[in-house]
């Protein structure tokens, strides 16, 4: 994961998150907000940009502090840094975009436990320089925002016949799409299409094992060790 960050590679750091390593559609991280808030295109963009903001700030701070934070307690430190920025964005959104704040609700606080952010902190920002970390965050954040925007648009258009609140006068709408079942369905179809276009199959493991952080993660390794021990 930690590529060399020479000048030539900087552009790659930026673009990899948007397409090749898109956090939502390829590495399947941060599924909870992807499914929960995307009933409207505007919600998707709002959530995506809020997450991008937290991701950029936390990557910046963590890459600056990477030599100061003791390795043993790094995860709690990262979580506190991330949670601080989440609180900040909660304040900003409450003040300037109260409508969006109300419709995102609880999920805004839950950015704290979005595994994209902790995953990038652990896998990238804690090993790379400041500039590369910020570019990585911008790319990953934009990739996440694009995926959420696509999900939100599809669900809003099919589910309510509107797009950003503008009535499209569709002959048929399916309310199911803005319900929870439609979220799972839309994401499934989008991932299938991405697979088809990119000509690859999805990773066999989802969730914790697909996390870019899995190799470093003590819990994941421990789980594997125990499995091996049980097999013996």
């Amino acid at each position: 994961m930690a590529e060399k960050t020479n000048k030539k590679g900087m552009l790659t750091e930026l673009t990899k998150g948007i397409i090749k390593e898109n956090p939502t559609l390829v590495t399947l991280l941060g599924m909870c907000p992807t499914l929960a808030v995307t009933v409207m295109a505007s919600n998707g963009i709002g959530m995506g940009l809020a997450t991008t903001f937290v991701l950029i700030c936390s990557n910046l701070v963590i890459s600056l502090l990477k030599n100061v934070i003791p390795k043993a307690v790094r995860l709690p430190c990262f979580i506190v840094i991330i949670a601080s920025f989440v609180t900040l964005i909660e304040f900003l959104m409450k003040g300037y975009l109260p409508e969006l704040y109300d419709s995102l609700g609880l999920y805004l606080s839950l950015i704290t436990v979005n595994c994209i952010i902790l995953g990038r902190a652990e896998a990238f920002a804690s090993k790379n320089g400041v500039l590369a970390s910020v570019l990585d965050a911008v790319g990953m954040g934009l990739g996440f925002t694009l995926a959420l925007f696509a999900m939100g648009s599809i669900r809003e258009i099919i589910g309510t016949g509107k797009w950003f609140g503008i009535d499209l006068h569709l002959p048929v709408t399916m309310t199911l799409f803005i319900m929870s079942a439609g979220g799972f369905f839309t994401l499934g179809v989008i991932i299938a299409l991405v697979n088809k276009i990119a000509g690859r199959s999805t990773p066999a493991e989802v969730g914790c094992a697909a996390c870019p952080n899995a190799e470093n993660c003590p819990s994941y390794n421990k789980k594997e060790d125990r499995k091996e021990a049980a097999a013996e």
């Binding site: 599924m31 799972f184 499934g188 990773p203």
Partner: protein, 191 residues
């Protein structure tokens, strides 16, 4: 609202996984086998209830009197991380059998949004202590129920012949959508 209504509401109507979309990662990752689904469900239920036991007094008796409600996200996630670590250490030393059953899943729970979600939800809905505990218990049981049901569905999906592009995650998500439709039948059960 009576406690039993809160409990059933949290299990069936507002199911954490299928209607609130919290804890999707473990839902997709750990639902491959029945026994791991049961283990994960039990661990999440346990941590949810205990996390509420810890966060409720801290919110009510420390954050609110000092006017620091906005710090709840930071405070709660720290409490949960600390608590999960503590439980793991205590179980490892004292209750070996429980540790063997749940220990594998405990560290994964710190970043499970269902746990942070339920503690913040209790505060947002202004539940009292007993109501918060019941809501957390219901949330955990609902999470376990979804995981257990889905582990059964999934074993059928995995052996089914689906188009190449849908193999793996997409087919799993579409199966989840159908399970979610069936849970929609409960909506409006308690008005």
């Amino acid at each position: 609202m009576t406690l039993i209504v809160i409990l059933l509401n949290a299990i069936l109507v507002d199911n954490f996984v299928l209607s609130k979309f919290m804890g999707i990662c473990p839902f997709l990752g750990v639902s491959k086998k029945l026994d791991s689904a049961v283990g994960m469900g039990a661990a999440v239920t346990f941590v949810m209830v205990c996390a509420t036991l810890c966060t409720y007094p801290i919110y009510t008796f420390i954050l609110v009197p000092m006017g620091l409600e906005y710090l709840k996200t930071i405070a709660f996630i720290l409490i949960i991380a600390l608590f999960v670590q503590l439980v793991e250490m205590v179980l490892k030393k004292k209750v070996q059998s429980l540790y063997n059953a749940l220990g594998v899943y405990l560290p994964l729970i710190t970043t499970n949004c269902a746990v942070l979600g339920v503690t913040i939800l209790n505060v947002d809905k202004e539940y009292g202590f007993a109501q918060s505990l019941v809501n957390s218990l219901g949330g955990g049981l609902g999470f376990s129920l979804a995981l257990i049901i889905f582990s059964g569905v999934r074993s059928r999906v995995n052996s089914a012949d689906v188009p190449e592009m849908f193999k793996g995650v997409p087919a799993t998500l579409i199966a989840a959508s159908i399970v979610s439709v069936s849970f929609m039948g409960f909506s409006g059960l308690f008005g």
